[in-house]
């Protein structure tokens, strides 16, 4: 086709440009011309938190994922409790809290999904452009999203885990179950809830990096399952150490440590999984922040 036409000479400016001093308003928030009667406030993280809270509670996907989460955790928890109780077992002094593990492991998928959707769905719908125009401090938006999501995920998980904990203790008291100590209660409720909420926040950061809901969810589900699956196929004895590490540091095993029923005796123990997840989430969030500032929306 044709070459682009030569750009308009900048000297041929309209009249109003001739007197830049007069035509240009003093730089400042007021600019020129119109002043709104609505008072202008200085915005801060609190505004972004309120906005993100409105957003997260006003879409159905939040209700759906959290609804399924509660159903999974409470439903599977109650089911396992009743099945174990009806089989008239001898628990041999084991903590009944550990029965809640299965429900929370499956429920973790919902937390991952919600975490990814909190960020990635804005990219899918184009909402992110509206958001970033309304709040050019991109870091503030991501921080607000992470805080609101973390709080919500933590509270919902804590309520479910506590409920199931009490149920299991009540159901299994008479079958020689251990009366859980204070630390066991703390790890089995607050600890595992913090862990799941962090896992969700990690997904949120991945969602912000990948910017694609399905892609980010796949990555996160893969991160949960792949280490176990890969470890299963490591027959060679030279890979034994790797296999062992994959087992021990896989997310399901890390979660089970909160109930002290690890798949192995070595590897992380006590509160270690929480610190591991904290470091991973922090790193992912840091990367997400850096990319968000750098990339075009």
């Amino acid at each position: 086709m044709s070459t682009p036409p030569p750009p308009m000479p900048q000297s041929a400016a309209p009249d109003w440009r001739a007197a830049p001093g007069a035509a240009r308003p003093a730089p400042g928030p007021a600019g020129a011309g119109y002043t709104s009667p609505i008072p202008v406030v200085r915005t801060h993280l609190g505004h972004a938190l309120a906005s993100e809270w409105t957003k997260i509670k006003s879409v159905r996907s939040t209700m759906w994922t959290l609804g399924v989460f509660v159903a999974l955790v409470v439903g599977i928890g109650a089911l396992t409790g009743m099945v174990v109780a009806s089989s008239d077992p001898d628990l041999g002094g084991e903590s009944p809290l550990s029965l809640g593990f299965f429900g929370l492991l499956l429920g973790g998928m919902c937390v991952i999904t919600l975490g990814v959707l909190t960020t990635a769905s804005e990219y899918g719908t184009g909402m992110i452009r509206t958001t970033m125009v309304a709040c050019p401090s991109r870091g503030r938006v991501l921080a607000a999203k992470a805080l609101v999501f973390f709080g919500l995920a933590f509270v919902v998980t804590l309520v479910c885990a506590t409920l199931i904990g009490f149920l299991h203790v009540a159901l299994l008291e008479e079958y020689n179950a251990k009366d859980p100590s204070g630390e066991e209660w703390l790890k089995g409720t607050v600890g595992v809830s913090l862990y799941l909420a962090l896992l969700g926040t990690l997904s949120l950061a991945i969602g912000s990096v990948i910017r694609h809901s399905a892609g980010a969810i796949t990555i996160m589900i893969g991160a949960v399952l792949a280490p176990l699956v890969i470890a299963l196929f490591m027959f060679s004895s030279s890979l034994e150490d790797v296999q062992q590490a994959l087992f021990e540091y896989s997310i399901p095993n890390q979660m089970s440590i909160f109930y002290a029923n690890s798949l192995s005796d070595s590897g992380p123990s006590g509160w270690d999984p929480l610190w591991i997840m904290l470091v991973a989430t922090g790193a992912a969030l840091g990367g997400a922040f850096a990319l968000l500032e750098k990339r075009d929306v």
Partner: protein, 411 residues
């Protein structure tokens, strides 16, 4: 006040915007025009801090957008109407935006009323029509009661009532002393709304002037003359007489003549002197659309060609003539009245080598044409042989449609 200085944006090796400098004043509606893919949206995104410029900068009120304190209270933008989460209700969408910039929640209901969406405020925006989505986007732009407003294609999908509303809204916003920057493809709409125009093509500035200046700089007014259809020899006679008198004649498709370079009374006198009756003698003021098409024809990236259906058509029965194509279809020069003066035309695609000799309007081929109504006009050159050549603007009625694409292929 929006001010861009040397704004450049590259995506990989594709340059979307190159060295763009302009200012958008408060108190006026400034139209932002350009063909598809010319970089309008990219420029808007850079103004709003969504894209980082590769070079140069753009400021609003002296600040880059991302450094503005409480930006949404100073700048409102409609980028694309569907940039909302479809699962959220209109009211919650606006509420979340209001909360983000500390705007009281009752303002949400106000703007919902302003755009006429209060009845559907609690419905999910997924079910909104294009026009309703557009109104929601305008509501979001108005939410912060800002002094600078950017609208990207605001009347897309609106009904006539909505278009009128948007037109008046833009004007009233500008009358309040705000800066209003609107991009649109609807030339008739722009002619009614905008006071000032910024035109870009292929990412470069092509014009920055008032609407009236733009039209007069990029199109020639002409007189339409019609002689009795039954006597073609009268038409020839008048053409010769007018050309001798220094006017320039271009035959139009329907048999009328386009005359430039002569005032209407003079044409009438000539007709009278040469004993030619006139059926029509009417002044024609070029529209913004024509002026725009003429200016941007060299900068259009996506151009339609004639649908030839090569090898698919039934052979025409003997004696039948192929249908005359609709003006503008695959005819790049259709909207190209010549510029009134060559010297002041930085926009004509003069750097187009393949086009220079071929242009039937002679625009690039007559560099010596001086400004002024009596000066030789580019119309003068092709006029005599125009019916014989592949003049895209004036195809002989019986010309096969394949001939019409020649100028297209020549590029």
């Amino acid at each position: 006040m929006i001010e861009a200085v040397g704004l450049t944006k590259r995506y990989g090796d594709k340059t979307a915007v190159y060295n763009l400098s302009f200012q958008v004043r408060p108190g006026a509606v400034t139209g932002f025009l350009g063909p598809n893919g010319s970089g309008k949206s990219t420029t808007m995104r850079m103004i709003l801090g969504l894209d980082n410029p590769t070079a140069g900068q753009v400021t609003i009120g002296g600040y880059p957008y991302r450094k503005l304190p409480n930006a949404p209270r100073q700048v409102g933008a409609l980028l694309d109407a569907k940039a909302v989460h479809g699962g959220r209700s209109a009211r919650n969408h606006l509420l979340s935006l209001a909360q983000l910039s500390g705007i009281p929640a009752r303002r949400v209901d106000e703007v919902l009323g302003v755009v006429g969406l209060h009845d559907v405020a609690r419905r999910r925006s997924k079910g909104f029509s294009l026009g309703m989505g557009q109104r929601l986007g305008i509501a979001a732009a108005l939410l912060g009661d800002p002094q600078v407003l950017l609208f990207d294609e605001p009347v897309n999908g609106l009904d006539p009532e909505g278009i009128l509303w948007v037109r008046n809204l833009m004007k009233s916003l500008a009358a309040e002393g705000r800066t209003v920057f609107v991009s649109s493809h609807l030339m008739s709409e722009m002619a009614l709304t905008a006071d000032h125009l910024i035109v870009i093509g292929r990412g470069q500035l092509m014009a920055d002037m008032s609407v009236t200046d733009f039209i007069s700089a990029n199109s020639a007014d002409f007189a339409r003359v019609r002689t009795p259809d039954s006597e073609p020899q009268q038409r020839e006679k008048l053409s010769v007489a007018i050309t001798e008198a220094g006017g320039h004649v271009l035959p139009e498709q329907d048999g009328a003549l386009r005359v430039t370079g002569l005032p209407l009374p003079r044409i009438s006198d000539i007709a009278h002197d040469s004993d030619v009756r006139l059926w029509e003698l009417s002044p024609h003021q070029a529209s913004l659309e024509e002026a725009y098409m003429r200016m941007t024809q060299g900068a259009v990236d996506y151009r339609s060609t004639t649908d030839q259906k090569a090898g698919l058509q039934q052979p025409l029965p003997p004696g039948a003539q192929p249908p005359v194509p609709v003006p503008g279809q695959g005819q790049p020069g259709w909207y190209a009245p010549p510029p009134p003066q060559q010297g002041g035309q930085p926009f004509t695609p003069q750097g187009t080598p393949s086009q220079a000799p071929a242009g039937p309007y002679g625009a690039p081929g007559v560099p010596g044409a001086a400004p002024g109504a009596q000066a030789p006009n580019p119309y003068a050159q092709p006029a005599p042989q125009a019916p014989a050549g592949p003049a895209p603007a004036a195809p002989p009625p019986s010309a096969p449609s394949a001939d019409l694409t020649k100028p297209e292929d020549a590029r």
